[in-house]
Amino acid sequence: MNGVLIVVAVGVLCALYVTWLAARLSRLNARVKATASALSVAANRRACVAIELGEDLKEESVRAAAHAALVASDDRQIAAENDLTRALRKARGHTIDPDAWGQLEAVNRRLAVARQMHNDAVRDTLALRGARTPRGLRLASHLPRPQYFDIDTDLS
């Protein structure tokens, strides 16, 4: 009799544990989606400010790189953002208007923070997906695998 009770209790605890893991995975999935969309907004904002800056400065390389970043397809996105960072770094010395450059630095900082938050979320998600139980039970199989977004945002 006692044996049956123990088996039932262990079964209930296991079910609760698995439910809890599944809830964490789905919350992490939501977190990754949210950070990804915030990241894409931040990247677009930087590209827009850079286009204006490129036009003001008559820096065709900046304008072109910013435009490319704005329209890049998903698989080209990281490379395009890195190109834009490089173009901005080159143009850095040529700026006359400190206000315009300050505005660009501000949106660039926001982009760096958004990237950090996204990569944190991806790392947390991958850590839990890779843990023994979630992997063994394929708890995350219905969720998309998150991707890191590793771009260079260093302007100096």
Partner: protein
């Protein structure tokens, strides 16, 4: 914006993290935000209007020292009420892995959560060892802030994950306008030191030796020391006739710290290492006091690569003595260093630093799926009715 700040350590005792949080709160209020701080505190401790207490912290012997922590059903209830009534747009938790209010808040809150990791102390290292168990808490944090490159490295190595580096702020005005103690610094020169003078890492021995080398030739040179510790441990090494030229103030308040820094001609930071940021240097600069520091990377960075201070090789007492002698004889250079220090420290002023923190708040809000305010996880009602015995 409505900001909820969570402080894990008791406000009954002064400390770096507590001071950081209260200064940040005031700077945020100064920028026009609504701020509420929750922290452990005794009912007798006088608290600013924006602080909510979770009650008295219980001293727990822990890892070789005593941590004053707050944890339990009573604390949980107060945290939940504070979250519900606060309707915060963003929650800013400090030292989230210390087993106290911060951890508890992370567990029960939902929404944009920003976390600041402070020192990379031995204690947090022990906790980080349990980081697998803490993962569910860390998972809820949207954005991380590290107060220094060292704190950031600690996070990368022990907690997987980086964080935005935003330096500690300094309330520049409080230091710049403080009145020196009566009769200080005096005409014969005064040297200052602040910190645990009995802790070898702080390097007070180096300074004391340098002072003992200089004192016989300079009859009015004095040493002003503040910080916790037993003065007799220091004074027994000092010849009797020099003892009255060393003033040891003991542990002092924030306000007296500002006065103390204004009371000396030179501030010395003889640390032997392990300093993550050197906030005391920025405070000395804010007071307009020239700094002489051991040649550590962190100090070099803060002192603008030597423009705002002089260096000596770590632990080298005769080098320190000669740097001090030169500076004591050169008031023009001291004034120049004071001016340079004020210029450097402007970028550490809380108003500037708090604006950067607000940027992170905005990013955290943008990066959170749940729109609207910070809410509370579903907690079964019966759990809230547990009373402490």
């Amino acid at each position: 914006m409505r900001v909820g700040l969570v402080c894990p350590y008791s406000l009954d005792t002064p400390g770096g993290v507590q001071a950081h949080i209260l200064d940040l709160a005031e700077a945020l209020i100064g920028l026009g935000h609504e701020v509420s701080v929750i922290a452990p505190a005794d009912s007798e401790t006088e608290l600013p209007a924006y602080v909510t207490s979770v009650g008295r912290a219980v001293p727990v012997p822990y890892n070789g020292s005593v941590a004053r922590l707050s944890f339990g059903p009573m604390t949980l209830r107060r945290v939940l009420r504070w979250l519900r009534e606060g309707q915060f747009d963003v929650l800013h938790v400090h030292e989230p892995i210390s087993p106290s209010v911060s951890l508890l808040t992370c567990l029960v809150a939902r929404g944009p959560i920003v976390a600041t990791f402070h020192a990379a102390s031995q204690r947090s290292r022990t906790l980080a060892a349990a980081h697998g168990a803490l993962q569910p808490v860390l998972e809820k944090i949207t954005g991380r802030i590290a107060v220094s490159a060292l704190a950031r490295r600690f996070q990368v190595e022990h907690l997987d994950g980086g964080g935005v580096e935003i330096p500690n702020g300094v309330a520049v005005g409080k230091f710049a306008d403080a009145d020196p103690f009566p009769n200080w610094p005096g005409s014969g020169g005064a040297i200052g030191f602040l910190g645990r003078f009995t802790e070898p890492r702080k390097g007070f021995d180096t300074l004391l030796s340098a002072f003992l080398e200089l004192a016989p030739q300079r009859s009015d040179l004095r040493l002003l020391v503040a910080g916790p510790g037993d003065p007799s441990e220091v004074l027994h090494r000092v010849p009797v006739q020099l003892r009255e030229r060393i003033s040891i103030l003991g542990k002092i308040s924030e306000a007296d710290k500002a006065r103390m820094l204004r009371s000396v001609d030179i501030y010395v930071a003889p640390n032997t290492g392990g300093e993550s940021f050197g906030i005391i240097l920025t405070e000395a600069m804010a007071a307009g006091t020239p700094v002489v520091a051991s040649d550590l990377d962190a100090f070099r960075r803060v002192l603008n690569d030597g423009k705002a201070g002089d260096f000596f090789p770590v632990g080298d007492k005769s080098a320190l003595a000669s740097v001090l002698a030169q500076l004591l004889d050169d008031p023009a250079r001291r004034a120049e260093m004071g001016r340079e220090g004020r210029a450097v420290v402007a970028e550490y002023d809380w108003s500037v630093v708090a604006a950067r923190v607000v940027e992170v708040y905005h990013s955290a809000i943008a990066a959170t799926a749940i729109r609207g305010q910070v809410t509370v996880e579903e907690v079964p009602a019966e759990q809230l009715d547990i009373e402490l015995p």
